[in-house]
Symmetry: C2
Subunit: 460 residues, 2 copies
């Protein structure tokens, strides 16, 4: 714990101890044998695992949309690991089912619904799948029993900036990736409502059945928010289920300053929201919230297994919520978030959001001031996308050769930073733009320190 | 930790501190407020959560197909919670991806395949879904893009004793629950191969497309093992994907004495196996193993998200296995099992299986000896299904009234045991049989102690 919690958060330590796969394999003694190892050896394994793992709690870990550690959540997670519950029935998980219910209700309140339903899932991708299936069930309940064969072609609509899980969901659910119509987004990455309407009409004209719009509140790369109110208008007009993938952006709902980013979210039929990202609840903590409170979620998902969901129990079996899930055993993911919320209060969570966005603002200002750094666009949220322009390119014309060369800069810098263990930062090409960095500052451990990057690449 | 680990395992303590839902809600102060609570209050919450949670580590917890705690796994789980990894790319989870690979390889070895592929999932239900989708992709790769509309009706075959997740999967994947053909099983709960063949022919005659057989190795209630070799013959004959849901029974593969239960499993195309059940790896630890080693899993599931799975990284990106998954963020569930395996060796895991089955045998013998206890059937595995016959019924004729009365006995005893906190034991009606108890003894803490049950109900 000393190694993994305290030392990992020390900025003078490495964020990762890079080893290439083959070498790390050799270092780790991974092989599973007939006989067990002694405790000394096991402790050494633990030390090695910690040593060579990435310290997501390190102040310089900016590689994903999560970072840092919340000690209240961590305490809760130790408790659940030790209790080892599975959340399907009240008799086995009385506390965790009630806690889940309390957290869902509070999240529903922040979405702005008077009532609602929901469930915690192993990931935002899974929440998006749930929503798509739920919308399909609402559109045509017979599909649950009869399947899609012989049905008209279903069409899903989402922006070209959506998370890849929408495509995975369409494939998994038997809808097919070709039947995901990707709506053009504007230069900031926001879905263009007029384009959505066009595609809905196109789908109808083709004789297919558009039924589900997945808007995004906080896109993965650019951090863009689709205009929910205008999209909701279109969904209402054409009778489409509006899902909002707010896996990343949902946490802004807790900030009075920034909740306007999600204006109109109360009009959605379902929302995916991952407190494990900006709110640091720990991997994984992901809720699907559903506006319907008539039991749609349960009707859609239930299989009524009689060995688990007996109806002749001596307590109110409406508390046995496991049949709302595609899972059987299910982790108590709501509890860690509940503990953090209890400890910090809504205002503490709000500060966490405000701080992340203030740090994003600060980073933007610094990037603008410094030679050799160039913003892709003014950020709407916490995703700061930028290029580092090495001195050799600074006076070059922005033609084919320039972009070709710049494309190789981010991977090269990333390699150096990883091997040095100095910083972890994601990069990607995107929408015809060559490789650029995307930085998100979430961890409370992240502080403003000027760091020298070697070989004249400037300072980060 | 004192409360949740040591005290919870003390047989003189209660297995649960029963409170009805509304009362527990009032006791727990679940409400999330604007301001945070002080540490004293937070500690009290922790104590209450532990107090009112079911002690799945208690020697008298027999309610599910898992129980007990493995301290090596627990140590590993504390480490992963503190490191907070997400297992998608080698750069973020170098150690945990290699560990997962090592564990999968070893599990594949025990299945008896020379090569293979696999992934850890949040539950056996999800593994079964993966397998069904994978089989569908293999059957017709175009479905990934084009979906099921306009396709012939797909048919899934499984026994009437299968886990309910097969039905949930068919619904979720757009195949439809009506297109799951439930094959009759014999009086011990084992799929009848001749019936399978009949249903395959029926499906073909109907012009539909049978493509997937889900056999079960260790059914949920009776613990029955389908005859895999004979089923594999039929699958080969008709070109069907053979999946084995060995979520519960897979662990027997580690026992030289009991692995014959799964004879023929090496002929399967995929296997679901949950080490979190009999091997006590902790909720959740569930692998889907796939015989194909040509990359089918990745081709079926990949969406090639360029922000995460960049192809111009400086290391061998074949180690970035996250695109095999329907999840984006994913927990490092293989590590805890790896740690247990390292600590105990294969022989230690084998002993765990042998012990559970020896205790099952002992329980059967005791049930046979004691008045008022009646076995449903001779168990094949660790599931001991029995009725307790109260004195008032012992001399009654086994007619309608007898069964009607007996049906109410298990729930009534369960209620008393729960309220007393003495023991937790599952019951269910099944295949026309009235409510009976199902007991599975996994926990190493379970020892042979004679316990007096009040009110003349006998001894358990």
């Amino acid at each position: 714990m000393e190694e993994v919690i305290k030392k990992a958060a020390d900025v003078t330590e490495k964020v990762c101890e890079w080893q290439p796969p083959e070498k790390l394999k050799a270092l780790l003694d991974l092989e599973l044998k007939d006989t067990g190892e002694n405790h000394q050896k096991l402790l050494q394994f633990c030390r090695d695992v910690i040593k060579f793992s990435v310290k997501t709690n390190h102040p310089r870990f900016f590689n994903q949309l999560y970072a840092g550690i919340d000690y209240y959540s961590l305490a809760a997670r130790f408790i659940t690991e030790a209790l080892n519950p599975s959340v399907y029935t009240y008799e086995v998980s009385p506390v965790f089912l009630l806690v889940e219910d309390a957290v869902l209700k509070k999240m529903i309140e922040f979405i702005g619904w008077e009532e609602g339903d929901g469930i915690f899932n192993p990931g935002g991708s899974v929440s998006n799948m749930y929503a798509m299936n739920l919308a399909r069930y609402k559109y045509c309940p017979d599909i649950k029993e009869q399947g899609l064969s012989g049905m008209p072609r279903l069409v899903v609509l989402t922006s070209d900036e959506c998370h890849y899980s929408v495509k995975k969901a369409a494939s998994f659910l038997g809808i097919g990736t070709q039947n995901v119509y990707f709506i053009k987004s504007d230069e900031r990455g926001k879905m263009i409502p007029e384009e959505l309407e066009k595609q809905v009409l196109r789908a109808r004209k083709e004789g297919s059945a558009p039924f589900f719009v997945s808007a995004t509140a906080g896109t993965t790369v650019l951090g863009a928010f689709d205009p929910l109110d205008e999209i909701a208008d279109i969904c209402e007009r054409y009778g489409l289920w509006l899902h909002v993938d707010a896996s990343w952006g949902g946490s802004a709902l807790l900030s009075r300053k920034h909740c306007r980013l999600l204006h109109g979210i109360h009009r959605a039929n379902s929302v995916a929201w991952n407190p494990h990202k900006m709110l640091m609840a720990g991997i994984q903590c992901c809720a699907l919230l559903v506006k319907d409170s008539s039991g749609l979620l349960k009707r859609c998902y239930s299989a009524n297994a009689s060995y688990l969901f007996q109806q002749d129990k001596f307590y109110d079996v409406s508390y046995d919520t496991g049949d709302k899930s595609i899972q059987c055993s299910r982790r108590a993911d709501a509890f860690k978030f509940w503990m953090t919320w209890k400890a910090l209060g809504t205002t503490g969570l709000e500060e966490r959001v405000n701080r992340a966005l203030a740090l994003a603002r600060y980073l933007v200002d610094e990037i603008k001031k410094r030679e050799g750094f160039q913003l892709l666009l003014e950020p709407e949220y916490a995703n700061i996308c930028f290029w580092y322009i090495p001195p050799s390119l600074r006076n070059m014309e922005e033609g084919h050769e320039y972009w070709e060369k710049l494309h190789h800069v981010a991977p090269a810098i990333k390699e150096r930073m990883m091997k040095k263990g100095s910083i972890m930062l994601g990069y990607q090409p995107h929408r015809g733009k060559v490789n650029f960095f995307r930085q998100v500052i979430i961890s409370p451990k992240a502080q403003l320190i000027v760091m020298n990057v070697p070989n004249g690449l400037g300072r980060i």
